[in-house]
Symmetry: C2
Subunit: 218 residues, 2 copies
DNA sequence: ATCTATTTTTAGCTTTGTCTAAATTTAATT
DNA sequence: AATTAAATTTAGACAAAGCTAAAAATAGAT
């Protein structure tokens, strides 16, 4: 497996190609900031190798082996992110870029031992689940903050958008994973929310609320 | 800097090309298990980039920038080796291969923080010195065990040959860095040594003694 | 100084992964 | 059903890094 092949598999998985859904070459190209023609070439190669099902003009989806491979890369990516935050004091907006490199290191022992060092974490710094060694996801009953009813509350457990600007915005506003958030009120006009978090009241836009996952604790 | 360029610089450094000594393309090719013609191509490229001085038919040596770059890669390699042993319980014969991959990860913060996590180690698991951030080596007054006189003793501080078979041999015979070794006798016939180590007496061949560094403690 | 063996370079080919531009297929619209 | 727009693939090119085989330069030995 080359680094490029691994990145394609990961992208296809993230676009939903793990559920035998067909992902278009255009969608992959856009996500990877490359050209559709390059994606076509890689689709053929991955298909040759039995990692994707590819039908000309119809797009690709991951085979069982393809899913397994993608999950192992995602597992590595997220474990490294945890390592960077927990052991090397990186902030959650700094880890992704480095993890993009580290995820391609080939050593099964390395990743097993890293998992152990980190005490077998279930989620990465952005709240994304870490697949187990045998490719299982620990699902969690989580909802977008924008979708829970007024007066209900939950613990913030993840972000949907994990772009650097969004993460920095959250830091600036002291919104962190683990915080308990209660929805006090919704504004019909712009869908903004009045919330209570860690004792304080604040107002957040719909765009923010629609990118925060909470686990309702009722 | 590509991974390949980095590997060439590291190899040239290890062959002595840091002291403006000319290293032949053949020597580099042999070390890297590649062909001389490939080395020539890379020599031209690295020369273009100002990392080596290259004179056709005469070989290459590292420029100042080339040395600095090589040292930073060696620094990363050795710090990762320490990490693998100290934090992930790798044995000293397992680390090199993985470090060969990890040394190419690009993140200054990562390596600084790793250094800190490891408490700024001065030597790697094989006793090789770790260059500082600004490319300085901490020299150590060490000698090969085969070259110290009878009845003198020293602490084992490093290995010259760090091949897997040699390291495993040392493990099997309980010869470890940190052990104090005293030379009791030399056999003229085959240059083997009778030594005392950690209370026990044993005999070791010249080949072993010529690959162990000791720091004399008198 | 000449010849020869060795080293080194050059020339040309290969693979991987990318691109552009042209051709083709599919999908949408009349 | 025909036309058009959009998506997708093909064809051909390129850069990086490697290889083989042939040519050129160097070094060693007479
Ligand atoms: Mn990430
Ligand atoms: Mn990646
Ligand atoms: Mn090493
Ligand atoms: Mn390397």
């Amino acid at each position: 497996m080359t680094r490029s092949e691994e990145n394609y598999l990961k992208t296809i998985f993230h676009l939903g190609g793990g559920d035998s859904k067909s992902i278009t070459t255009n969608a992959i190209a856009e996500q990877m900031e490359t050209k559709p023609s390059s994606v076509t070439d890689m689709a053929k190669k991955l298909s040759e190798k039995g990692l994707v099902d590819y039908v000309r003009y119809q797009g690709v989806s991951l085979t069982e082996v393809g899913v397994k491979t993608a999950l192992s890369i995602i597992r590595k990516h997220r474990l490294w992110e945890v390592f960077l935050v927990k052991k090397l004091d990186f902030t959650w907006d700094e880890v992704h870029e480095v993890a993009e490199q580290l995820e391609h290191i080939k050593s099964e022992k390395l990743i097993d031992k890293l998992d152990e060092l980190l005490d077998f974490p279930k989620y990465d710094p952005h709240g994304d689940p870490i697949p187990t060694k045998d490719g299982k996801f620990q699902e969690r009953d989580e909802k977008l903050l924008s979708e829970i009813p007024i007066n209900s509350q939950g613990v913030c457990v993840g972000v949907k958008d994990s772009s650097v600007p969004f993460l920095k915005f959250l830091d600036k506003n002291k919104i962190a994973l683990g915080n308990t958030i209660k929805v006090l009120d919704k504004e019909d006009f712009d869908n903004s929310l009045r919330i209570q978090m860690e004792g304080k009241e604040m107002r957040i836009s719909h765009q923010i609320a629609a990118n925060l996952y909470v686990k309702k604790n009722d």
